[in-house]
Symmetry: C2
Amino acid sequence: MTVHFKKAAIVGIGLIGSSLARMLKEYNVADCISACARSEKSRKTVLELNIADAVFEKPQEAVHDADIVFVCTPVGSIPAVIKEFMPFLKTKAIISDVGSVKAEIIKKVFPELREDVFFVPAHPVAGTEKSGPENGFSELFQGRWCILTPTPQTDRTALSVVRAVWETAGMKVDEMTAKRHDTAMALMSHLPHLIAYTIVGTAADLETETRQDIIKYAAGGFRDFTRIAGSDPVMWRDIFLNNTEAVLDGLQRFCEDLTVLQKAIRQKDAATLQNWFERTRRIRNEVVEARQDQPENEKLLLKNKG
Amino acid sequence: MTVHFKKAAIVGIGLIGSSLARMLKEYNVADCISACARSEKSRKTVLELNIADAVFEKPQEAVHDADIVFVCTPVGSIPAVIKEFMPFLKTKAIISDVGSVKAEIIKKVFPELREDVFFVPAHPVAGTEKSGPENGFSELFQGRWCILTPTPQTDRTALSVVRAVWETAGMKVDEMTAKRHDTAMALMSHLPHLIAYTIVGTAADLETETRQDIIKYAAGGFRDFTRIAGSDPVMWRDIFLNNTEAVLDGLQRFCEDLTVLQKAIRQKDAATLQNWFERTRRIRNEVVEARQDQPENEKLLLKNKG
């Protein structure tokens, strides 16, 4: 299925929003792209880099006459933003989002939904630690998964349209319940980010000499953690505030396992350590076999290299 | 200072040893490179890929007549290996190592040292999650730090020679005490690895559906953690058994900080979360400014791309 829109709106034009805008342009999915950015700096960047055809401060201006609206703001503001522009949508408009948490968003958006517009909750699972419209690129989504979390009320045609957009972006698309999505993401993405944020903070609190050494010599391990912990603070604050239960449950399991390894180190229990590390190496191999091992950063690196 | 050896020996020819061997050949640092590998498979690979001129099963055979010997085995076996080949070294030979833990190695090696040979403890801080001689490459060390941890007994000339080798490999070289090195590494490398090993293990224990989802959709966060947790099990077992005190101390600090964030999530304390994440983003920026942000994997990627 191919899709084409006369006008697509992107509300919130950071890394994901601007990558999507670039993709819609390059693949000729929309004749006109209208963007909304709250900050003047972002609006300037969007125009300078020609990321959208028009850019507005207020969501209602951006969504005017749009066939489809992608909300790409931090998770915490998605329901409020949708509520804000709802009266200004044309009839039969499709609203979709890119939030990393789905159940909370669905819970808050559905009661606000007009009967003549459609909402398709979606999560393109792609990104880098960078934020801002200047860091987006149209290939960001290629080869990665997009997860749609429709409810029984979701319009099937609108669902197919959103699926087609992400397939055009090069994504593999799956559907599942919001709960299943949120549980998997808590372990796969949210908890690793929380842990990376924690340990980089721990390092920041160290005595001056050790702290300076760590930054100066930063190598594998800490370097990877700083990359993760360099991710957008507001985006991640909102994720933890909106997927609280699943994250805390994952954290509990993680802490239990950490205690096991802590004890093994204290008791110099070589067998427990080695068995554990061999088991995790097998998981790495499964990820590589699932072809999920190439970071988005490397795609960009290869692209820029030509 | 440039150095040249008639014969260099590399005992333990995995990722680091084989990268060093390739570098010594490509930069014409040694006329002859002799390697030691315990496994027949590794010996075969070394010969097939022409990584060394000769390869032996026993360390004493590899070190015969060598001007310098690099011990590149896992940390736990470095002292025993050095003790094993000690009687077979020629007089004035230099022994160096690449272990990620320094105090324990120094403590065990110095009492065994012959008076007519020199030992220079070193740690080239570079690597990827891959192991084995087939995964080495001569550029691995470029632009990264090598830390030398001499004691007051370390011969100054031998120290300069080892420094020159790593500078030839493209490394920046610093000197510090073994204790300072081990403290920094515990936080910068050992603890992040422990945490990555833990969470990937936590994921492996989940109910089937969630476990499968996590591997199938693996994106930033978990994907990065699986890469770290795919590192060599024996190498890392030995690191934790030999830097126990500093790792457990770092772990204690980490757990305290994790509890703070756990509480902030449970209480939906947005300000604490956002402040924390903004602080860690600044640390990331410091790492980028220190030019320590490019992973070795990317160098290899760009190299293979041509």
